[in-house]
Symmetry: D2
Subunit: 418 residues, 4 copies
């Protein structure tokens, strides 16, 4: 979040605010209160919790910016604070699924009331600091839209009935996709990180800074299901030498044998549209860093670094299969020249641990807890996915997850030393 460039954007402020807030509810259409209450693992949260927490975020950091503000539900502060230690203690994360109260209807009402209050605030005119916080709240809302989908997918998959979220039809992947080949990347000093004055960014994307790229190549497209299937069939999950030590221990302990949502038959997978046949041309998805890294080693390649990725992506338009396409699943690429699928479809695991950029300064106060305190034991992912809102992604965007996480829409682009 770089203050100087911060604004309520090009559209009218209230309209943008309402559009993004409404989109979260739109994603819940067709889901019952029960569906929005499931927490299938500590890493995932119930949909209702996402609805409430994102609202709390506006209450805490926007409305609460006025010291005279009084919450309609002071007791909910404890429930819907996620991890901001500076603003007080919080409900234990693994227990979010126990909250039958407040009921979904109460949470929807809470959303309306807070939206109204924020709308009034915008209408009265904002100073820069408040505008920044509203923008941050909207970006935050969009992150939780994606999590709402990935968490729901895990919740539904945890139910032996395997419910369907949306009966979407993925476009048939016609002809064979482009053959995999490698394209050269830049060598020498480059700049990465968010460019001051070019719109919103999280603090962890700054400052823009110089780094040195060694000679390397990037694959023209994502790794497909059929390529990953070959790895599975040829014993990739049984060959220790392909894996990081922690990865091998995880494979053993968890009994991993294939991507998270693949069925045992290796020809179908669980999707938000229910069980579907695997599309051999579509990007492989729902794999961990450990799997991405082992696949790359098996393929005689490696993962790209985030600097290699960003430097290449900076030349491309931000286009791809995002949330708005309503596939909610990665799809086979169209034929094309150059780097395909850099944005959308699946988050791409990089070979870069998630750490601060040189000169990094977290936001002041509680908002400094947003990103900086997670800089340990996670890896950077780039490019957004089929669950990411299109206007949420940027070239410099750094997503991060621990190396065993599989429930995100995450896949593989290969890289190589030249």
């Amino acid at each position: 979040m770089t203050a100087s460039t911060f604004a309520v954007h090009t559209e009218d402020g209230i309209a943008r605010f309402m559009r993004i807030r409404r989109q979260t509810l739109a994603l819940c259409a067709g889901l019952g209160a029960e569906d929005l209450m499931v927490q299938s693992m500590p890493d995932a949260s119930p949909g209702k919790w996402h609805l409430a927490h994102t609202t709390w975020f506006f209450e805490q950091f926007v409305l609460g910016y006025d010291p005279a503000y009084r919450s309609p539900h002071p007791a909910w502060h404890y429930l819907f604070n996620s991890y901001y230690e500076s603003v007080g203690p919080m409900h234990a994360r693994p227990q979010r699924g126990l909250l039958s109260r407040p009921a979904l209807e109460e949470v929807r009402d809470y959303r309306s009331r807070i939206d109204e209050a924020v709308g009034e605030l915008i209408a009265r005119g904002l100073d820069a600091a408040l505008a920044d916080r509203i923008e941050l709240g909207l970006q935050h809302e969009q992150q939780h839209q994606e999590l709402l989908l990935t968490d729901l997918k895990h919740a539904f998959w945890s139910n032996p009935l395997r419910p369907v979220y949306r009966d979407t039809t993925a476009p048939a992947s016609g002809s064979k996709s482009s053959p995999l080949h490698f394209l050269p990347g830049r060598e020498g000093p480059v700049e990465i990180g968010h460019r001051d004055g070019s719109g919103f960014a999280y603090d962890n994307e700054t400052p823009r800074h110089r780094t040195w790229l060694t000679a390397h190549l990037l694959a023209n497209r994502l790794v497909t299901n059929s390529e990953y299937l070959a790895f599975v069939r040829e014993g990739g999950y049984r060959e220790a030498s392909l894996w990081l030590s922690d990865g091998w221990a995880t494979v053993q302990r968890e009994g991993w044998q294939r991507p998270l949502y693949w069925q045992e038959d290796l020809s179908s997978e669980f999707t938000l549209a229910g069980i579907r046949e695997l599309d051999p041309q579509a990007p492989v998805c729902h794999i961990s860093y450990f799997e991405a890294d082992a696949f790359a080693r098996w393929a005689g390649a490696r993962l790209p670094t985030e600097a290699e990725w960003e430097d290449a992506a900076a030349d491309l338009p931000v286009k791809g299969n995002f949330q708005e396409a309503h596939h909610f699943h990665p799809i086979a690429p169209a034929h094309g020249e150059g780097l395909q699928q850099m944005y959308g479809d699946v988050w791409e695991w990089t070979a870069s641990p998630y750490v601060n950029y040189p000169g990094f300064k977290p936001l002041p106060g509680a908002l400094g807890e947003y990103n900086g305190k997670f800089m340990n034991g996670q890896w950077v992912l780039r490019g957004g996915s089929c669950a990411t809102p299109h206007d949420h992604i940027r070239t410099s965007y750094r997503n991060f997850f621990p190396p065993h996480a599989r429930w995100q829409f995450a896949g593989i682009r290969l890289g190589k030393d030249r």
Copy 2:
């Protein structure tokens, strides 16, 4: 369940069936679908699961008795089988709270359809075996009514908002309750266990058999909150010598300092009517066997054996504070002569491990898993509680829980060697 005495009872069969089934739903009045989905610990189940499982029980063991029967929801068999290994694999117990589907409405519809089918079966006339199974299903239903309440209490207590189930008013305990004193029990050979031909009983209450009572005394009433408070205040939870070794380890590990639902102030407790002041005359409740045993040792007494309890109770009418009183909480006793509160209010922990009676034969087939396979590591409780349906309890009734369990309405009657 002793076949010869088994019947659909004195009332008209269908009416009795419908009355008990409807009572389960009546207990859910005022609760939302979300409330009925919470599973706050592996030992407790969501209300919706109780509604479905008890229905599955009739489907599996009554309707399914006809080999031509076809279930409307064959996929639900896996979800709502609790622990009957003989009839197939089952959904993992700790994951019952993840089932947003089937929705509550579908489960209510399922209940209706199965009730109708069973009603038709009864109307057509039953052979003895089927009548036995319906009776067992009804007894089973009543057990789950009690669990529905205790599990919901735990679920609501796990929510920091501490929701209220029913805003009941417990009768004020007027004057001081009867002073505690001890009454002599019988000595020598006695008979306990269910008497053949005297109505329904579970297999674990049979056969009626002889046992030998040594000289002993039983307390005239239950231990009260104020008596238990003295134990707490005088350091009962900090004195190792009062505790069984496993109990002391549990106290340390769990940080126990008072009964489960008491507040830290030692003057109020969480009830199904929300946070209420502790009634000093009411029976102490929601304690484990370990706590009951430690309290008894502190008081210079011991817990009664189940044979001592049953032999004494056999002389008394089955009367007390049961589910039908709608207190959903133990209450202070009226003044009275002889043994008070033997039935209702709280289950009384006994000094008897839960094992089979000599000559015990479990029911044949899958129903033999109902009771017999749990005869390890649990202790017998007697007398029913404020959550037990009145017509569910009997003198020979043997309830059982592990020694650390605290979420049941369980309390203490003291005994002594004479």
Copy 3:
């Protein structure tokens, strides 16, 4: 321990004391300091710890009876107190294997010094209370002799080299052993428990009291390896309906498929003499209560109660395969009439949970922690084993272990309802 009958026995007191103390060291002959330091699981202790703890017991309860006593090693009190909360805090049980200091030589020296001091005490003449405590110390020493052997067996089995303790040769089991048949037991009121004035007993064997036996049968001999092998081969470990619920969960979780020390080939086993062929006629050994109970169910029988066992055993001389035979393993029975192998070879799991006898009073003070506080979640075993000193066992002796314990020499005698 019944005070009135308590004494330093028929032999000269000092000689008896020294004989038993020396026997503990004799069991360690041939073992190195490293062997005596292994702790292969929290339930087992290193040999060195047994040597020191038994010595501490005399120091604490005999020498320390004199308030003027000063220990040569006050810091060791914390290390070698096992579980006597009343005399102070103690080193965590699972960490006993971390004590390289004191070295074995120091512990041996400690034993000598304490033995000398106790010898002098006996030579000066004892009052009844001290004589009682010395006797208790000797009985305690003998219990730890057995544990030293069972713990060492587990330690050596945990080493992939499978070291040999003593290269003993078990007597060849010549002809086939007696066919299994059932003998009737007494019916009606009987007395069990230690008879006052008949020598030493632990507090948990008292008071002698009346109990009621129903009509029953007892098997003439122990269950053999070949009988148990049939259970294994016919799928006993895969059939849920044979098991208690906790037992089945344990089988699944631990992957049990055969007795603890049997090899995968089902024809050999690890013994204190190394890997040996299974003797088909020898008693099956190193099984848990869960396995004994499941086997009995499979065999259409049940386990005897401890009262049934004791009433039958009271008519028999205390003879059998004990520690002194130096087999350190159960052996095939000689042919014979009546009940065979009631004493020695293997501890016999009974169908009786370990609880107090009516009127039980633990020893006063810290020694009251010896037995009473373990009366939860364990089952009684009777008769002693090939690792028990002959003069340690009695008809009324009650051993107890949790239902999953397998590292003791424990086996099966069947019983039946008549």
Copy 4:
């Protein structure tokens, strides 16, 4: 290990081999077989295991290079393989403390036999590949010398008697040490990594490559005990905002309140010479990455990156308080100009996650498992410690441990953005 520069060094090959091997035994002088058997946590290994594993390494990778080689102890292969999956399965790491056999004497004999065989091999003349492997074995031996000390320290600390390893006297820190100040580092492109042809290096130090340093400062000396004490006293361990999220969770879960071996009084600490007073001028030690990072944040600074460290260290001679000084503890620095204590005393946590250098190629075959597979979830440490052999350390040396590890001699140098 860069093949071209690899050799058996400047001294005569056999002499060097024998000197390093003997040094391992010299570190064990005064320790008994029991001391060398303790494993106080899964991360640490018994001394005897270190003695055997380093010998196995020579057997496996040097002697076993000859396919005709036959081991004197083939069964030990399984016991003393640490983590080389390619050469077969291995004994579980947390169970290394259970190996009473082979006895220490047998392991010493094993060392002699293997040393003799390797000596003969060297005497016969080596090809480059074998010379490389012997050099790697010696470097490996030296790493385990350090681990032997750190593991023994943890083992002795786990014993309530707190034994002394060596009664060394640390030099008194006379006057106050140099005031802390910051010195500028280079900015712009620099080269780091092992320079081809300059002697031995592990594969993870290669290839030498260019990286970009932003403007920064480095502290002239290590953080002292007295500086860290201020952090403790001012509530550093209670202030969430100072910590990484994983670090804060660890502080809570483990109850951390001070460095690992500090006593509760905050004025003394456990050392290899027993409990000693804290030297306020000596470097703080035995802290985790989490603590180093939190301290730096509290001090308004940050940790240096490994590139910043290496670029600065490259100008300095490799001198400092190493194993050969026999302090086995960090000491207060002499006064001096420029960067002090860059080598020796304590490993310095850097802000760099442990990942591969661009173009990294692991050694071929099983030896490729030496370093590369651990590139996840660990942080780089630089400079060696008081337990590192002097001739083992290099400017490009990269040590790595997980962020919670505290049992190594690890401390803090501060850095800053300029």
